[in-house]
């Protein structure tokens, strides 16, 4: 399954370039070669800037100012963290839209070490207004989200990963479900599983009396669905399971449940730098994001009153 979302991104973007004459795909060398065919057909709209990520984002802003719909792509640390001021000023502050599509996620490229890991990207973007942040858990979801983003004019971050669920939980009746979907119902707590961690969460909560919600989009945060799910619980208790920095969406839960006494546990990638290489699976275990680690955390949380 490795890289399947990124391959889908290339295939779908290439198709969309043929039908959307305002669409442009921007790269900074990474993945650029996979767009060679598209570049031959659309040399003015498939643009590779070389290893220049600040320019990648600024040029996306400039293209949007000229009435284009830019899709900019790189690995997450180089797309979000390195040019963050360009995102803040050349997209948000200019009041223009763009689609940023990352690959690599938190530790897909674990063997490359810290330089290629980006657990903080969603937290960083969450400091800015107006972003739709999509965290697909399956290539079919990523495709639907990309098609929707290409048709729109807002600010969209599409966070692709090599990790994937077996099924597209976010697709219902052949269509992308935008809000949280209920995967399991219970009464002791609400567990929100974000993107590719859904299958691990379902395995971890097997036999537990909890509701499991699935989120392939975390901004805007579906406060309405969360409140409805909490209303069915014996007490307002929420566990967030996010495939990036632990606690990133805890403020959203606090806002959604601000008028209720509630408990919340934010699970995700730890803040400490591991300085380990190895596989993504090993990193998931180290951060407690495998099904056994998640079950220990959820059971422990349920046992606290």
């Amino acid at each position: 399954m490795a890289g399947i979302m990124r391959e889908r991104f290339v295939d779908v973007s290439t198709q969309l370039l043929d039908t959307h004459d305002r669409l442009a795909v921007l790269t900074a060398d990474l993945t650029s070669a996979l767009f060679d065919g598209a570049r031959e057909r659309h040399p003015d709209r498939v643009l590779n800037f070389g290893i220049r990520e600040q320019l990648l984002i600024s040029a996306a802003g400039g293209l949007a100012l000229a009435g284009m719909r830019p899709i900019a792509h790189s690995f997450a640390p180089f797309l979000i963290e390195r040019p963050f001021e360009q995102i803040k000023l050349d997209l948000n502050h200019q009041a223009v839209g763009a689609v940023l599509v990352s690959a690599g996620a938190s530790y897909d490229i674990s063997s490359s070490g810290r330089t290629h890991q980006s657990p903080g990207d969603v937290a960083l973007l969450s400091t800015l207004p107006d972003w739709t942040i999509d965290v697909p858990g399956h290539a079919d979801e990523a495709e639907a989200q990309l098609r929707e983003a290409a048709d729109g004019d807002g600010l969209v971050y599409l966070r692709l990963s090599n990790q994937s669920n077996a099924h597209a939980h976010g697709i219902a009746d052949g269509r992308l479900h935008r809000g949280f979907r209920t995967l399991r119902q219970g009464t002791a707590a609400v567990v929100i599983a974000v993107g590719p961690l859904a299958d691990a969460v379902l395995a971890a909560t097997e036999g537990l009396d909890v509701t499991v919600l699935y989120a392939a989009t975390v901004r805007p945060f579906d406060a309405v669905a969360l409140r409805a799910a909490v209303a069915d619980q014996r007490e307002p208790a929420v566990v967030l399971v996010e495939p990036y920095l632990a606690g990133t969406s805890v403020p959203e839960v606090a806002d959604a449940l601000g008028d209720l006494s509630h408990r919340v546990l934010g699970l995700g990638v730890g803040r400490d730098e591991l300085r380990n290489y190895g596989s993504p699976r090993q990193h998931a275990i180290a951060h407690g994001l495998d099904s056994a680690g998640l079950r220990r955390a959820v059971v422990g949380f349920l046992g606290q009153k």
Binding site: R52, L55, S58, G62
Partner: protein
């Protein structure tokens, strides 16, 4: 007030009071801005889609810019009196969402030129034959983001892109051999002009530069 003359700009600028600390920066750009808006740019307050674009990257000291926009009918000259006030659209750094005629919001240095590269690419992709102009400061040229843009724009021959560097000789470590050398090595057409001489500036702005983006260093003589 579109019949305003260069002499009128001083009255317009003097209406902007406050503790603006970049007055020298503002006056150093006045001549280049006026020549652009009076003689070169194809832009009117109607902001037609095929207008030329002007990006003030050096957002510091925008008084000259506001005065020129007022003189050319983009903003009400009466608005200048409220410069810097809480509810005024005219701040210490221009905001495109607040000020008619302002193409980019600027202030943090090193953003205008990379944005302009994108806009020049976008206009080209749409088949709109507009020129894109950016004004930056010689100190601002220190920002690394500019050098990503300079290298790329030169290599791909973005000939509708024009950069004016207002040279107040303020860059802390200078530019050995002149800024022109830095741009030329990347494939730009480059020239230095007297930043106070309107005819010389106009000639530099209008000179052909086929297949290459263009740099005009407007030397103010300030040191």
């Amino acid at each position: 007030m579109t019949t305003a003359t260069f002499e009128d700009l001083h009255d317009l600028m003097s209406t902007m009071a406050g503790d603006e600390k970049h007055r020298e920066a503002a006056t150093s750009t006045l001549d280049a801005l006026w020549v652009l808006y009076d003689r070169v740019l194809r832009v009117t307050p109607e902001m037609a889609e095929d207008r030329d674009r002007f990006f003030l990257s050096k957002g510091h000291g925008p008084m000259a810019y506001y005065a020129v926009l007022a003189a050319r009918g983009f903003i009400d000259p009466a608005e200048l009196r409220r410069f810097g006030a809480f509810r005024s659209p005219l701040g210490m750094h221009p905001d495109r969402a607040l000020v008619p005629g302002v193409e980019i919001s600027s202030g943090s240095l090193g953003h205008g030129l990379p944005l302009a590269v994108g806009t020049a690419l976008g206009l080209r992709a749409r088949g709109i034959p507009s020129d894109v102009w950016v004004l930056i400061g010689d100190g601002e040229l220190d920002e690394g983001s500019n050098h990503e843009a300079i290298a790329y724009a030169g290599r791909v021959g973005l000939e509708r892109l024009h950069v004016i560097v207002v040279d107040n000789h303020s860059a802390s470590h200078g530019w050995p051999g002149g800024m022109e050398k830095r741009f030329e090595v990347e494939g730009w057409s480059a020239v230095r002009a007297n930043g106070r001489d309107h005819d010389e500036l106009e000639a530099a702005f209008r000179a052909p530069h086929p297949g290459a983006p263009r740099l005009v260093v407007a030397d103010t003589g300030v040191r």
